[in-house]
């Protein structure tokens, strides 16, 4: 999963104004949720995927693999929605009889499931666009601009930075344990794992103390002041985004008028 972060830095859209990207993502996602239509969802998926892959320069293979990750969750979640329960066997395509009740699949149920599936995938493609083009540092800058409390933004930044240090630490401890047969049997595996967990906790604590000393030595006084990345705000780009979103809304309205919401 950490590759996402690396790809965000490599994306050709990395240098774009992060606020614009956040706006584009959230507006598209909002419309996708509001329209509640398979056609619109498919349109969102296709456009977001092509922007991420072709404009952003993310490899198509990697993007495809990434889409597979939420697929399994989605399928399980959607299947339960496709199921209907009724006292009468009428309307079911196929059903099982449980003590005077019928559990099975109906045509409206399938349609509902497909619509939800597409909608969810549309939202995923929107979020993937954001996370594959915008490193977290830029997102934090947007949050600061949007006046999210400083403490939350600072904590997010520190958590993000220390995830990598923690992972490195865990990796090093695991390797050291494994090289001494720490995971040779299930029993020793559990013992090693518990040692790893407690070790990580202690080291994180130490790391936090050291970090505090290091920050203090550089004049820390309770606020992590940093220079914000400087992006050129191009109004014409905002205009393009607004135009695209209007187009999407128009499509949604047309689809609804034509009654093709299913």
């Amino acid at each position: 999963m950490l590759h996402i972060d690396q790809y965000a830095y490599l994306s050709r859209l990395r240098g774009e104004d992060p606020l614009l990207k956040v706006l584009f993502t959230s507006a598209t996602m909002g419309i996708c949720l509001w329209a509640d239509s398979v056609l619109i969802s498919l349109l969102v998926i296709i456009s977001m995927a092509s922007v991420t892959v072709f404009v952003g320069g993310i490899s198509g293979r990697f993007y495809g693999k990434l889409l597979l990750i939420p697929l399994s969750f989605l399928v399980v979640g959607v299947l339960t929605i496709a199921l209907d329960v009724s006292r009468h066997p009428a309307g079911f395509l196929c059903a099982l009889n449980f003590a005077e009740r019928y559990v099975g699949i109906t045509v409206p149920g399938i349609l509902r499931a497909v619509r939800l599936f597409c909608q969810a995938f549309g939202c995923i493609s929107c979020l993937y666009f954001l996370s594959l083009t915008t490193p977290l540092v830029d997102l934090l800058a947007v949050l600061r601009k949007l006046r999210v409390p400083k403490l939350i933004v600072e904590l997010m930044g520190l958590v993000y930075r220390f995830i990598f240090i923690l992972l490195d630490m865990a990796d090093a401890i695991y390797t050291a344990q494994a090289s001494r047969l720490g995971y040779a049997t299930v029993r020793s595996g559990y013992r090693s794992l518990s040692a790893l967990a407690s070790m990580l906790f202690i080291r994180s604590y130490k790391q936090a103390q050291d970090l505090y000393a290091a920050l203090e030595s550089r004049g820390y006084d309770g606020e992590l002041r940093v220079v914000e990345p400087n992006y050129t705000v191009a109004l014409e780009k905002y205009a393009v985004v607004v135009f695209c979103e209007c187009l999407l809304i128009a499509c949604a309205v047309i689809v609804h008028r034509c009654g093709g919401s299913g």
Partner: protein, 310 residues
Amino acid sequence: MPVDCVCRDSASLRREWLVMEDIILEAINLSYTYPDGTRALKNISMKIKRGRKIAVLGANGAGKSTLFLNFNGVLRPQTGKIFFKGREVRYNRAGLTELRTGVGIVFQDPDTQLFSASVYQDVSFGALNLKLPLAIVNRRVDNALRGTDTYHLKDKATHFLSYGEKKRVSIADVLVMEPDVIIFDEPTACLDCRNTLQIMTLFEGLNKSGTTLIMATHDVDVTWAWADEVFILKDGSIEGAGSPERVFADEPLLRATGIETPIVMEMYDRLRAVGFIEEPSPIPRTKQELFALIEKSPPLSFKIAAPIAP
């Protein structure tokens, strides 16, 4: 010591004397005990002269890091005093800000120092804490990044850097504050030769521009080649201090503290002992100086003086 010191109070006397000697940082009878009872520093006194290159040698756990944290005001000595630019350090906000503006520490592990995921932002932190205008902050950050050869990394994520790159960024973190004294806690530990050389070259430039450098190290060869002054720390006390020539010639001291003789110095001594180098010359500090000396000495003299007692 000034001669006409009879009618002055001791504080002004000290100030005058320090300015005369140009001592930028001084610890007097410094002791520090950690809450768990470890006595990390025992009655340490040391003077750091402005513009010098100082090496602090000592085994792990000798108290080097504790001493440095005291020098920067992160730790407050339980007994003893610290003087910066001749004035006693006050542990209020203004006093600490002044001390930390003047004395910077580059920590041993860059991962404890780099808190931001963005290189540029991390370096900007110290400069912004000095409450400088943004334009100056940006210029200083650019300079610090260029000075440590990390300008090309400015938009990179901290966690994608190599160890050597992180190390250089952590130096830029402190350079950006433009302190008078920079303390390096084992700057060359875990670095490859190329990175070590790069950092030592950087130190040379910093020192030429007037920055006082203090370096904790285990490496006696680096110390020998680099330092103007050496302090040897053992179990929280200063066991020896002085010029490298003096400290490394003091065999009982080296034995007691478990410190080796630098290889260049040892070679020179042996070559002199066998008569290969005859004339008293300044003791070579680097391999290159030693080689130059060897090339200068006539090969004949070696043959004449060759028979040595086994």
